[in-house]
């Protein structure tokens, strides 16, 4: 898995609550059997004016100039700033894949949908939770004339930015370690193979109907 230690970059303010996974990566792109190729279709329905289909040459598509991602000032941004319940909807892991491939390394929002939140960690995308008021402050900074750079530091669990902005965030220690070290979670779990086998042996006695393979 991709590591996350520290990221300093431009912030894109996406000022909408309840951004769902159908917006993050529309279903027609889920037909791919690969993990890559989703970045150009991130927020497809909002980003382009023409309806998108897999295989289209995105450089020939009409951009929606009103959509924040198309604002050239934010070109090269690596931190996405969002509102409550970001990533609600389906379990598609294509959502964090698309966000990462576009170039974002971290998302900052007051809250996330559970499955999206979980999927992000599995791919090295850090979903930072900050208080509503701190997110408001960041929106105020990020929507000013000049784009702003901020730093997300996982080790110290802090977000720092211009005008003395500084906030700290909580993170589950297991997830923090996995991200910092880019650990293979399956490999880690397989270290508990004996515990899994012991559980199965006991469970097969208590609930034998579950083990009539």
């Amino acid at each position: 898995m991709q590591q996350f230690v520290k990221e300093t970059g431009l912030v894109v303010p996406l000022d909408r609550a309840n951004v769902d996974t159908d917006q993050i990566i529309p279903k027609q792109y889920l037909k791919s059997i690969k993990r890559t190729g989703f970045g150009v279709n991130l927020f497809d329905d909002w980003r382009y004016l023409d309806p998108g289909e897999p295989g289209m040459d995105h450089t020939k598509r009409r951009l929606n100039s009103d959509f924040v991602l198309n604002d050239s000032r934010f070109s090269g941004a690596s931190i996405l700033l969002a509102r409550d319940n970001f990533g609600c909807g389906s379990s598609r892991e294509h959502a964090p894949w698309a966000i990462l491939e576009y170039g974002f390394k971290a998302v900052i929002a007051p809250s996330y949908a559970d499955i999206f939140f979980n999927n992000s960690f599995k791919n090295g995308l850090l979903p930072v939770i900050l208080a509503e008021s701190e997110v408001d402050t960041l929106f105020a900074l990020a929507t000013g004339e000049t784009p702003v750079e901020i730093t997300v530091d996982l080790q110290s669990q802090t977000v720092t930015g211009p005008e003395g902005f500084s906030a700290s965030f909580d993170i589950d220690p297991f997830r923090k370690t996995c991200l910092l070290e880019g650990l293979d979670e399956i490999g880690l779990s397989l270290k508990d193979a004996d515990s899994i086998k012991a559980y199965e042996t006991k469970r097969a006695v208590d609930a034998p109907w579950l083990f009539r393979d």
Partner: protein
């Protein structure tokens, strides 16, 4: 010891190991797979040289991409090459890894959340996961069931476990009795309208009370199915006699002495009377009326006698902005009566509402009537090949066809429009599915979530009507 909730009991009985850092490994009894969220997981497994930990725990089917016409022509006849490749990839992966699969055209194939319970592959007391957020459906059986991502699909294949953190407990008590003509779909839409799309985030929701107990198993599945639309990955209903009766005699259900032991164990799958929930919500089930969503997420919903909201009356700027954007997308006016919304298409199907009882409910409404001329298309997509067969035995297909509905082969179909079934831009659809997000049923499409009975009545009238007046 303090009483435990149903969720606590399911968690405890599946805990393999609790780690010092707060994470845990929980054991997975049933892993359901489909073509969209599994190819990268199988690829990862193969690249790492791993094999499935316990083959018999896995059951796969194709549902999201499959055409709903002429499935008997086979996979090679799927027109869209990317869809065809995805379906073929699941077939190849299941063959290569020896995973049991109901392939397209097999009567046992269908929507993953329909076939699990139908086969008895979903049992009370199990943990059930699938790379699909609507896995919460299986919680109707007193099973701990939730959606997972593709990395977790690979993890479950490789280890039969999931790295998890215990959720909080919420109980949503729906008082009763429910009013005449009010269905499970109306109940869950009303609950989401009350607690919001993020109201259940971080929680496992147990649905309880007379309004839930009075529902059939299929109704309870409809309720649990949409727990995720309230933000909760897990929806649960306690086991009772209806649960056990539904499970008995299905292909994967325990038999003989196993059955008796299982039933004895399952009777404990209820929350203890002194169990503590982190959050309790009471919904007055007696006042719920048939529901219709008007906006672009499932909390944007109201009763059939209601109106589209007026953004100007909303104080909170984020809420007001979201409402304005939703009305613009949906092409609706502030204060417009719900009954005045005209429909272009009607979709009866999806993992929420495509079981036999759903089809009976809709057929009862359309029997002897005709789809309105203004409706371009009305379609019924059964949840599985077996649901389709049963409906045909009962003559429901004839009722639908004579009324002007299309009678299709099983699949997810227009719920998410990954196959050819979709809305055109600007079209309004009365849909029995679960999500009314922008573009969900086709770019620019406008989804209104309703029950099968309400969808059927809307197809006949050409606009929303109170189906209770038709029953």
């Amino acid at each position: 010891m303090a009483g435990r909730t149903l969720y606590d009991k399911l968690w405890d009985s599946h805990l393999v190991t609790q780690r010092d850092d707060g994470s845990a490994l929980i054991y997975i009894d049933r892993h359901l797979l489909h073509e969209v969220t599994s190819p990268q997981a199988f690829e990862g497994l193969a690249l790492a040289g791993r094999t499935p930990w316990r083959l018999a725990a896995n059951l796969a089917t194709v549902d999201h991409n499959v055409p709903t016409e002429n499935q008997s022509a086979g996979v090679s006849a799927i027109e869209d090459p990317t869809s065809r490749l995805q379906v073929q990839t699941l077939d190849q992966n299941c063959d290569a890894f020896h995973v049991t699969q109901f392939k397209m055209g097999d009567p046992r194939a269908g929507i993953v959340h329909v076939i699990g319970p139908e086969q008895g592959a979903t049992l009370p007391g199990m943990t059930v996961v699938c790379g699909d957020s609507h896995t919460a459906t299986h919680g109707a059986f007193g099973a701990l069931a939730h959606g997972i991502g593709t990395s977790e699909v690979e993890h479950v294949l490789a280890t039969q476990c999931l790295v998890a953190k215990k959720m909080k407990n919420m109980r949503v008590t729906v008082t009763g009795p429910l009013g005449f003509g009010v269905t499970a779909k109306d109940v869950i839409l009303a609950i989401i309208g009350q607690i919001g799309t993020a109201g259940g985030t971080g929680y496992a929701i147990e649905f309880a009370g007379e309004g839930i107990q009075s529902l059939s198993m299929e109704g309870r599945m409809t309720v649990c199915n949409m727990a995720i639309e309230a933000g909760a990955r897990v929806g649960l209903v306690a086991v009772d006699e209806k649960t056990i009766e539904y499970v008995q005699g299905r292909p994967y259900s325990p038999q003989g002495a196993d059955w008796d032991r299982a039933v004895e164990a399952w009777t404990d799958l209820v929350s203890d009377s002194d169990a503590q929930f982190d959050h309790e919500v009471v919904v007055d089930g007696t006042v719920i009326e048939p529901q219709v969503s008007w906006g672009t997420n499932p909390e944007m919903v109201t009763g059939i006698s209601g109106h589209v909201p007026n953004p100007e009356a909303i104080d909170d700027p984020i809420h007001r902005g979201a409402t304005e954007r939703a009305l613009k997308y949906m092409g609706l006016k502030p204060n417009q009566p719900i009954e005045s919304i005209r429909l272009d298409r009607v979709f009866i199907g999806s993992c929420t509402n495509s079981r036999i009882e759903d089809l009976r409910e809709a057929a009862q409404v359309v029997d002897g009537k005709r789809v309105a001329d203004s409706v371009i298309q009305a379609m019924v997509v059964p949840g599985s090949g077996l649901v389709k067969e049963q409906a045909e035995k009962e003559g429901l297909d004839v009722i639908f066809r004579e009324a002007g509905f299309e009678w299709r082969d099983p699949g997810c179909s227009m719920c998410l429009a990954m196959n050819a079934d979709r809305l055109g831009p600007g079209e309004h659809c009365a849909s029995t599915s679960n999500r009314n997000f922008e573009g969900r049923q086709g770019a620019g499409g406008r989804t209104h979530l309703v029950s099968p009975a309400m969808a059927a009545a809307a197809a006949i009238a050409g606009h929303f009507v109170d189906v209770r007046e038709w029953l």
